[in-house]
């Protein structure tokens, strides 16, 4: 029993890191724009498909992952510049609807380009197979996935906390007008932040490709989990998403021991419980 729990904790940690990475991107965009990015799932799906296409072209996995970050980031920058930025002065609903429309357009474009049936890619050879820990098997790729997500999160953390650009982004999130008064190019910052968030979603999509494949519904599926993570972590908190992502992964994995059929519903129960007990989220400020 103990070993089974330990196995599920490891598994949950690895899954949770991916949720954290996706939700982190969502959190950055939410912070900068104060709009939930409804197109986040579409950027995630785009990342998976781009990664697939890059692997098809024979690129090494590392470059495919890089493409999975860059292409959605670029798409994110375009979407922000051409649409979101122009709607900045209008009511908040316009941006929301715009992003919703973008998500639908991107999903359909993906279907037109890559077709309706799902696609699969295998992990590079050195990441195939599993670690035999005696009490359990842990797929190498799952470990790699969690580690990559953790490293990415650490890099983005350094970027935000330790660089000039990062401090400007934080200023933009906290006190938008004040930052503008100080001569910070907030518009450029928002574009950068949006691109970064979209890129992180794309990278998660690329990372999960060998585990989940690429298919037409993956964006919507991830979007709902990312929002749950965001709500549990706290809508105003940049880093709440990280802890909450891991928490959701753990809930999903450990529930397989006690109540496997309830693994999905438990995630939503956790969200509802958070909203009732601590509506600002675990790390949010009221």
């Amino acid at each position: 029993m103990v070993s089974l729990l330990a196995a599920q904790l490891l598994n949950g940690l690895a899954i949770g890191m991916i949720y954290a990475l996706t939700a982190f991107g969502l959190s950055i965009i939410k912070g900068l724009l104060n709009v939930p990015n409804f197109a986040h799932g579409a950027f995630y799906a785009l990342g998976a498909y781009v990664c697939f296409a890059a692997l098809q072209l024979g690129l090494p996995f590392a470059l495919a992952l890089l493409a999975a970050f860059l292409v959605p980031a670029l798409a994110g920058a375009v979407v922000e510049r051409l649409g979101v930025a122009r709607l900045m002065r209008g009511p908040y609903l316009y941006q929301l609807l715009f992003l919703f429309g973008v998500a639908l357009i991107m999903e359909q474009l993906i279907l037109i380009i890559w077709g309706t049936s799902g696609l699969s890619a295998t992990a590079p050879e050195w990441l195939q197979g599993a670690f035999d820990l005696g009490f359990t098997y842990l797929p190498k790729y799952l470990v790699f996935n969690g580690a990559m997500a953790a490293v990415t999160i650490a890099v983005v953390w350094l970027l935000i906390e330790r660089t000039r650009l990062g401090s400007q982004i934080r200023a933009g999130i906290d006190k938008r007008e004040m930052a503008q008064c100080l001569g910070i190019n907030v518009a450029g910052l928002v574009t950068t932040g949006f691109a970064l968030g979209a890129g992180l979603a794309g990278l998660s999509g690329g990372l999960v490709l060998p585990l989940l494949g690429a298919n037409s519904t993956m964006g919507a599926e991830m979007l709902s989990i990312a929002f749950v993570v965001l709500v549990i972590g706290g809508l105003g908190s940049l880093y709440g998403a990280l802890a909450a992502g891991v928490l959701v992964g753990l809930i999903q994995s450990v529930s397989a021991v006690f109540a496997p059929a309830a693994s999905t519903v438990l995630i939503y129960v956790a969200m509802v419980a958070t909203l009732m007990i601590r509506p600002q989220g675990l790390f949010g400020e009221r």
């Binding site: 070993s3 049936s117 994995s253 397989a256 999905t264």
Partner: protein
């Protein structure tokens, strides 16, 4: 929706079906005047499983083409209705088609949930349904004089698959099951237990997963901790595809993956060849079935659609063909007479010699066990697997819940 718009949509669909039909045969089956018989395909034309609806239709069209679109001197008018994969929509479309288009026979549905809802309408309206899908209720607790079932019985499927496993892998006895937590999965689990007992296999554990699950590693970690010889996936669709992908990431070679009713050919194609290679699957239909009827069907299908037929297309073709054969036998297109002709009918289908159980209306036909090919063994892109066994053991009568006599 106004009634005017309804007529519009229907006309468009009819025209669409007619156009499709005539493009195939150079004939039009659209109703003009006089002596016609209306048959229908109710299936998903939109939504996630739209591919299946389209394939059922393609199969049906081939069967009608064989008869130049007529039976016993009557022109066949083929209706196509989109149920969107939803029971409520299926019921509505069927009721409309019966009342305004005089529908007498229909194929519906590729999805059991929709098909079972339509079963009640068929009974009420006295029209004949040739259903497919994984639910045993069609020929069990909800059996009806007006409904016939094309897909194999879950017992037949499990028995055939596990029998092959126990014969070819005699030292693999411990099975762990991962089951979809809805009627279909639970029915498969029930018959896994029945068949495992008959064959002396040991079930070491089971986990139910919610429908739409995208994370399976936790089930596999748990399953592998019991050191099973076989993991049996009693799930289907996208869930099954994801499960196989993630099992693949474990790289565990000494555990055999068995899917008794898990992946159709369309889903197999979503997996990379390395992921599916070696998997043992049970299938309602595979293109390589070696019978005269099937060979000619595959050949014509390939010519018409540049693809090989799969479960959904074979259902469309074979069920329609069977209905037409029954009309021949009855020398009538009246539902009551055709129903009677179908009961106990023995005929040559794509499966070879086939019979229809007079009481339950189960099509007594074989179920196929295939093993997926390694990438370098594939002759072409369609060549995904080899048929390694087939079994047609019917459900033991004491387990059947049909109250008809």
């Amino acid at each position: 929706m106004t009634s005017g718009r309804k007529i519009d949509r229907r006309t468009v669909l009819k025209a669409g079906a007619a156009a499709l039909g005539s493009s195939l045969t150079g004939l039009s089956w659209a109703q003009t005047a006089g002596d016609t018989l209306t048959m229908g395909v109710l299936s998903q034309q939109t939504g996630t499983f739209a591919y299946a609806g389209d394939l059922v239709l393609k199969g049906t069209q081939l069967a009608l083409e064989e008869r130049q679109g007529s039976i016993l001197g009557k022109k066949i008018n083929l209706l196509v209705r989109d149920d969107e994969g939803k029971p409520a929509v299926g019921v509505r479309r069927l009721t409309e088609a019966v009342s305004s288009d005089k529908l007498k026979y229909f194929l519906g549905n590729f999805s059991s949930a929709v098909g079972l809802a339509e079963l009640e309408v068929a009974r009420q309206e006295q029209v004949l349904q040739y259903a497919a899908g994984g639910s045993e209720d069609f020929t069990g607790s909800r059996c009806s004089p007006y409904t016939f079932q094309w897909s194999a019985h879950a017992y037949t499927a499990l028995r055939a698959t596990l029998e092959y496993v126990s014969k070819t892998l005699p030292d693999k006895k411990k099975i762990y099951t991962i089951t979809a937590d809805y009627a279909f999965g639970q029915s498969l689990l029930h018959y896994t237990q029945v068949a495992a007992k008959e064959l002396g296999l040991q079930l070491v554990g089971n986990d139910n997963h919610p429908s739409g699950e995208r994370q399976f590693t936790q089930y596999f970690t748990k399953a592998l901790s019991t050191r099973p010889d076989i993991i049996c996936l009693l799930t289907a669709g996208a869930d099954a595809v994801t499960a196989v992908r993630q099992f693949n990431s474990f790289g565990v070679k000494n555990v055999q993956i068995v899917g008794p009713w898990t992946l159709e050919v369309e889903q197999l194609r979503e997996l990379s060849p390395a992921m599916r290679s070696g998997m043992i699957l049970g299938l309602n239909y595979y293109q390589d079935i070696d019978t005269p009827v099937n060979k000619s069907f595959v050949e014509r299908y390939l010519k018409a659609y540049k693809n090989v037929p799969s479960y959904a297309a074979a259902y469309g073709y074979d069920a329609t063909r069977t209905l037409l054969l029954a009309m021949d036998k009855a020398k009538s297109v009246e539902v009551a007479a055709v129903m009677k002709a179908l009961e106990g009918m023995q005929f040559d289908s794509i499966f070879g010699p086939t019979a229809i159980d007079a009481r339950t209306h189960q099509t007594v036909r074989p179920y196929y066990v295939v093993q997926c090919k390694a990438p370098d063994a594939m002759k072409n892109e369609f060549d995904l697997a080899t048929i390694v066994a087939q079994g047609d053991k019917p459900q033991p009568p004491e387990l059947n819940e049909c109250k008809r006599t």
